[in-house]
């Protein structure tokens, strides 16, 4: 596919992605930080559902030999240190790299500064890649998947893991129905004093208008 085709494809797919992020409120800072504070589980519910769906998709596409997988490397140093820094950044931003764009689109103007900071963060890594990678070079096991280390075909493992995730999702929803977790404005934030908001006390969550 040519560059123009890829750009149009990306825009159309992004449009769908952005609608899903805004509607599910997984782009709300209150929902994202709320997940890290174990106040709301909306983000985990969406994340696990997307992963389970992707597992079924790839079990089929890769199982029939229609696509190649492109797993990222298991490099212990970069993955653990980078992951920790990334997580800290997500908490400070109240966004992930993708959801920062959704926040900006939905109207949160501070997200423009998350994006700008992100561009400079990526630039800093680009300029100091050799030094940073050298510092963290340890335990590189290459691009391995569970199917490489277990004597079971990818499609079997993928479907089994998807089934496990579905069980977790059902348990999460039984424990805390998603509508009770949204908060009055769908922002994952409750009225009253901070810290008093509890999921489950607001069954009408997400249906009242958002104060702008």
């Amino acid at each position: 596919m040519g560059i123009l085709g890829l750009v149009i494809l990306g825009l159309v797919m992004g449009l769908v992605f952005g609608v899903a992020l805004e509607k599910s409120r997984v782009m709300e800072p209150g929902i994202i930080v709320g997940q890290f504070q174990f106040r709301t589980f909306i983000m985990l519910k969406m994340f696990l559902t997307a992963t389970a769906t992707g597992l079924v998709v790839l079990a089929v596409l890769y199982g029939f030999g229609w696509v190649e997988l492109g797993p990222k490397a298991m490099a212990v140093g970069p993955v653990l240190v980078g992951g920790l820094i990334l997580g800290a950044g997500i908490a400070l931003s109240g966004a992930c790299p993708g959801t920062a764009l959704a926040q900006a689109g939905a109207g949160y103007r501070d997200a423009l500064f998350i994006i700008a900071g992100g561009v400079f963060g990526a630039m800093a890594y680009g300029y100091f890649k050799a030094e940073i990678d050298g510092l963290l070079a340890m335990g590189d096991y290459g691009k391995i998947t569970l199917a490489d280390v277990l004597p079971v075909p990818f499609w079997v493992l993928a479907l089994a893991f998807a089934a496990l995730l579905v069980a977790v999702i059902v348990a999460l929803e039984t424990w805390r129905p998603w509508r009770s977790e949204m908060g009055p404005g769908g922002t994952g934030v409750w009225d009253g004093e901070p810290g008093t908001g509890r999921a489950g006390k607001h069954p009408a969550g997400g249906t009242r208008p958002i104060e702008a």
Binding site: G10, L55, K72, A91, G94, L101, Q103, A111, G117, A212
Partner: protein, 171 residues
């Protein structure tokens, strides 16, 4: 039946939709869903306006010439447009920054929150590029490929997030 004018959809519907996006990603774009590489593309083009040495840095050059990074850059722009359309269609206007921040860290001015947002964005993308992916690339896509490195990255990401969020007040 969920519509564009709904204020909220279930996270499960959104998750299935996003998971299904892997089909065109793998079949047509020959890659998996991801977001953080596009920041390297933007950084490369921005840096190249003041630094001609960027053309000698392979990491920037590959992100400025490969079709899959143009696809991903278009994807994140599409995310902003999609969220705009969705918020407009459901009349879900947003203030300049989420009220969650006042509760979490006591910040009341837009500029104070914006400084925090800039720092957060910087740390976030630095970490994502060190790890080689973000919540999309390592999370949704890496785990769907059963990549062992991605399981480790997601665990570390949650650990870092939980640690910092524990320093905030509970909203």
């Amino acid at each position: 039946m969920p519509t564009l004018t709904d204020r909220v959809w279930s996270p499960y519907l959104a998750g299935v939709i996003i998971g299904l996006l892997q089909i065109p990603a793998f079949l047509l774009a020959d890659t998996a869903l991801g977001a953080s590489s596009s920041f390297v593309t933007a950084a490369g083009f921005l840096a190249s306006t003041v630094d001609s040495g960027v053309a000698q840095i392979d990491y920037f050059v590959s992100h400025m010439t490969s079709g899959k990074y143009f696809w991903q850059s278009a994807l994140v722009i599409g995310i902003a447009i999609g969220a705009f359309v969705s918020a407009r269609a459901s009349r879900s206007g947003r203030p300049s920054f989420s009220g969650a921040w006042t509760r979490l860290v006591g910040v009341r001015s837009f500029w104070a929150r914006s400084a925090m947002a800039f720092a957060g964005g910087f740390v976030m993308l630095l970490g994502a590029r060190i790890a080689g992916g973000c919540t999309s690339g390592h999370g949704i896509s890496g785990m769907a490929q059963l990549a062992i490195g991605s399981f480790a990255a997601v665990a570390a990401m949650f650990a870092g997030g939980i640690l910092v969020a524990s320093l905030f007040r509970r909203a």
